[in-house]
């Protein structure tokens, strides 16, 4: 795989479990030596000079990996001094990161006693203490509640606005939609790369002679069975109360409506839609699985 991440972008790195996301991050952080290939961060060769890259990057791992028996302040102090901060500069930075993540007032709590959301904020604070140009976040929101998730993303947007490049892995599609750029890997191969809008417009996601339709009906499960048997329907799947269809261009939406009407099912709404990111990834992955099997 080969890709560039623009400065100050939010690069979403996606892919199924075991596809190699964490491995790529670990190689980029200099934790793991690649068997071949090269990577440069801020113009520095990661493979040859991992030690020169390290002061420029921050890393927040999937599991909480700060010292649980140390207080919030002690953790910050420790990482500050490991990055060589001291005196006034350290005091300024400590205050700055604590303000950014809003953890002031909890300095003397042991890190292990914090709730999931606060742990992530502390981890973020520690990863930011030395003002890294690039921040790697490996599933930063796994296992925390939606409110904490939202506020963490607000923090990430602020950082990005200030010029920090963010490299984020996630399984949440709504988080992927928030990224400025996306890379999708499958079986350790990069199969999609670009801005979300570019990915949705890809021809192999919605081929020229097909269209995507969203359909709302009061009996979705029964309707799904009928639609799957209808000629011209290429794929059909649930999406909340609605059904998402990929049909061939020749199939008239009115024909679908009348087919369901005939079965006694009312169609509340039917409209043509553009694919969301989930559609993009599922289509691309299935396409690869089929060619793999063929």
């Amino acid at each position: 795989m080969s890709f560039d991440v623009p400065d100050a972008s939010i690069f979403g790195f996606l892919g199924p479990n075991g596809s190699g996301k964490s491995t790529v991050i670990r190689m980029l952080c200099g934790l793991l030596a690649p068997t071949s290939g090269e990577a440069t961060l801020e113009g520095i060769d990661v493979v040859r000079h991992p030690d020169r890259v390290k002061p420029k990057i921050g890393y927040m791992s999937q599991q909480f990996s700060l010292y649980r028996d140390l207080t919030v302040e002690e953790n910050l102090t420790f990482y500050g001094s490991v990055y060589g901060l001291s005196g006034e500069r350290f005091a300024t930075r400590k205050k700055a990161v604590m303000d950014v993540v809003g953890i002031a007032g909890q300095q003397s709590k042991r890190a292990g006693t914090l709730s999931g959301g606060w742990k992530q904020r502390l981890a973020l604070a520690c990863a930011l203490i030395h003002e890294p140009q690039i921040l790697f976040l490996d599933e930063p929101t796994a296992g925390i509640d939606p409110v904490a998730r939202r506020s963490l993303w607000d923090l990430l947007f602020d950082l990005s606005a200030q010029g920090t490049t963010l490299f984020v892995t996630t399984h949440y599609m709504d988080e992927a939609e928030r990224c400025t750029h996306i890379g999708y890997i499958y079986l350790a191969r990069l199969i999609a790369l670009g801005r979300p809008a570019e990915l949705k417009a890809r021809q192999d996601v919605t081929p020229p002679d097909t269209r995507r339709i969203e359909l709302v009906t009061d009996q979705a499960p029964a309707a799904l069975r009928i639609l799957k048997g209808l000629p011209g329907v290429l794929s059909a799947t649930f999406f909340g109360e609605a059904l998402h269809l990929l049909t061939s261009e020749s199939l008239d939406p009115d024909a679908i409506r009348s087919a369901l009407d005939a079965a006694g099912m009312g169609v509340t709404n039917i409209r043509e839609m553009s694919p969301n990111l989930e559609d993009v990834f599922v289509t691309l992955t299935q396409g690869l699985e089929q060619t793999g099997r063929a």
Binding site: C29, G30, L31, L32, A33, D51, K54, P55, I57, G58, Y59, S61, Q63, F64, S65, L66, Y67, R68, D69, L70, E74, F78, Y79, S81, V82, Y83, G84, C126
Partner: protein, 369 residues
């Protein structure tokens, strides 16, 4: 150079302080060991329970029994009236030794003939059996010489007069307590360092740390330093208690001892570091530590003399750091030995420690990528 050394060491000290249970155990453990090895583990065999089957019943036979008891190695607990009862007393465990004096014991002595005494020894406890055998033979020889001398017929051709140096009372505490210093240091350095490093692996904090520009050597030294200090503190504590409680003072140079303790520390820390490169979890590190500590206790000469070990096992004892440290400890503390007597052990310990530490550091650095 050594970026982050102070930060890591300071953090490590907080860890030790925040875990009072572990700290208490590492301080209490030496106390418990000191008590066990100093008081309870007395290998001196005394007052062996003895059953007597006396068929003679005259003053001469009574005298033999009295002399037996006077050695304080024997204590008559039972008198029996048949061979079978004598044997049964040993089988039932009431007695460890059975003494049978034949009916003609006194007569033979009077006639100047050789009087025989049968001694049954319970061999299931080899220490007791050995002691019973040697003291009984020794006593009989002594009594025989007395009898011969009384007749004015002989002077003893070879007269051995043993004098025990350094530990005249032959108290086992004097033997065990100095060795304990080595054992405690080994436990503190090897086990605690291994656990503290593997804990960082287990909790993922090591990975977080490796993303920072911390120097790898500094990381390692910073983690080892607090345990080295703790080890030195416990050494002083045990040496003090050895003198205050057991009255075993340091006969040799405290300076020499103080200089050689750190040499041993390197070996112990190296072993801990080595374990941490293999173990992935704290449970594994704990088990691996025992794998090292057990031979250190049993094969180093701490309890059993190395000289009596089989030829197959003996080479193992030469690669255990405690082996040399024990010889140094006992030499300095008990015999007042100095550098001229101990340079060999000190050099071997230094080489062994340097070897272990080099391999461990190399493995550690490689593991960290």
């Amino acid at each position: 150079m050594l970026r982050g050394l102070r930060a890591v060491a300071a953090k490590e000290i907080i860890h030790v302080r925040r875990d009072p249970a572990a700290l208490a155990i590492s301080i209490l453990l030496p106390m418990v060991q000191l008590t066990i090895f100093g008081y309870a583990l007395d290998t001196d065999v005394k007052h062996i329970r003895t059953a007597v089957y006396d068929l003679d019943h005259r003053p001469a036979s009574q005298q033999f029994i009295q002399r037996l008891e006077a050695t304080r190695y024997y204590k008559v607990v039972e008198r029996v009236n048949s061979d079978q009862a004598l044997r049964q007393a040993i089988v039932a465990g009431r007695a460890k030794v059975g003494v049978k004096l034949p009916p003609d014991y006194s007569e033979k002595l009077l006639r100047g003939e050789s009087a025989q005494v049968l001694m049954l020894v319970d061999g299931s406890d080899s220490q007791v059996a050995f002691k019973a055998q040697t003291t009984a033979v020794f006593l009989a020889t002594n009594m025989a010489i007395e009898k011969l001398s009384a007749r004015g017929s002989v002077s003893v051709p070879i007269d051995v007069r043993p004098r025990v140096l350094f530990n005249p009372d032959m108290r086992s505490a004097n033997f065990f307590v100095p060795g304990l210093v080595g054992l405690i240091l080994q436990i503190v350095t090897t086990m605690l360092t291994a656990l503290s490093i593997v804990r960082e692996k287990e909790q993922g904090t090591l990975e977080q740390l490796l993303v920072t520009p911390v120097d790898k050597l500094a990381l390692m030294l910073g983690k080892l330093a607090p345990y080295a200090v703790l080890g030195l503190f416990e050494t002083s504590l045990v040496l003090y208690l050895m003198w205050a409680v057991f009255g075993v003072g340091i006969n040799g140079s405290l300076l020499l001892l103080g200089a050689l303790v750190p040499v041993f520390l390197f070996a112990g820390l190296g072993l801990g570091l080595m374990i941490s490169t293999f173990a992935q979890t704290q449970a594994q590190a704990f088990q691996a530590s025992f794998l090292i500590i057990l031979p250190s206790v049993l094969l180093s000469g701490f309890v059993f003399p190395r000289e009596s070990m089989p030829a197959l096992i003996y080479p193992i004892t030469t690669v255990i750091p405690v082996t040399y440290f024990l010889e140094i400890l006992r030499g300095v503390i008990l015999r007042g030995a100095g550098w001229p007597e101990l340079w060999r052990q000190a050099t071997l310990l230094l080489l062994l420690g340097a070897g272990i530490l080099t391999i461990a550091v190399a493995r550690f650095q490689k593991r960290l990528g």
